[in-house]
């Protein structure tokens, strides 16, 4: 299932996948796959994404 919350949170900050990936230290394709729902990130990566986007785990990853 697509993670539209992550995508919209990133878009709200006017941040590209490449920028987000660079700040977290992962590849752009990893961010793409998370947004597409094709990869389940570890809790460590989830927290890193939340910190960069200024959101909580509930905001981005809880259905």
């Amino acid at each position: 299932m697509k993670n539209l919350k992550l995508k919209s949170a990133r878009a709200a900050l006017d941040m590209s996948q490449q920028e987000l990936a660079g700040r977290i230290g992962v590849s752009r394709q990893t961010i793409n796959l998370i947004e597409m729902g094709d990869y389940n990130p570890t809790i460590k990566l989830c927290i890193a994404i939340c910190k960069v986007l200024g959101k909580t785990l509930d905001d981005l990853f809880w259905e």
């Binding site: 006017d14 590209s16 996948q17 660079g22 230290g25 394709q29 990893t30 990130p41």
Partner: protein, 178 residues
């Protein structure tokens, strides 16, 4: 092995050692290549697939020799083909799933490098065949003359996968942006 081939072998070994020394000295002090968690996972899966491909190759190769009653390739060529096959499987899986290059490393250098390796090996193979009027077979078994062509095929497959992946990444469907 004649004196020219021996000289070529020594020169090849010298070039490889020089290149590795150069790379090590250049990378000293730099951070090691960094793969993210998904890439590590994919690389693990690729290693597993490579292992089973190599096992299957050795079984088929041994079985064929057993049935035929003779070796189908000489003692150097047969394992060399297996190694090339395994490397190809690993690299292709990693490239397809974007886990071959570390984070923030661009594949452009490798596309150029592979683009050089392919014609060099093709030329080497053809020159060797033409000059020595040699064939691929010795006593019915594949000999080492086939090696440049095997390398050529291996890098062609890898290069093609790399180019297809790069095109896919750069296409509107591959790049999902806001």
């Amino acid at each position: 092995m004649n004196s020219l081939e021996f000289f070529g072998l020594i020169l090849g070994i010298f070039l490889v050692i020089s290149y590795i020394s150069f790379v090590i000295s250049k990378r000293r002090g730099e951070a090691p290549p960094k793969y993210d968690e998904r890439q590590m996972l994919v690389r693990g899966q690729a290693y597993r697939a490579t292992f089973w491909v190599l096992v299957a190759y050795l079984c088929i190769s041994g079985f064929f020799s057993l049935i035929a009653g003779t070796e189908w390739a000489d003692g150097v060529t047969s394992p060399f083909i297996g190694v090339c096959l395994a490397i190809t499987v690993f690299v292709v899986i990693c490239i397809k799933k974007d886990a071959y290059f570390p984070v923030n490393q661009q594949p452009r250098f490798y596309i150029v490098l592979f683009g050089i390796i392919i014609p060099v090996n093709l030329a080497t193979g053809i020159i060797r065949l033409v000059n020595e009027s040699d064939s691929f077979f010795t006593n019915g078994a594949l000999n080492y003359n086939v090696m440049p062509f095997i390398i050529c095929v291996m890098f062609s497959v890898i290069l093609a996968t790399l180019i297809i992946r790069r095109r896919k990444d750069n296409s509107p469907n591959g790049r999902v942006e806001p």
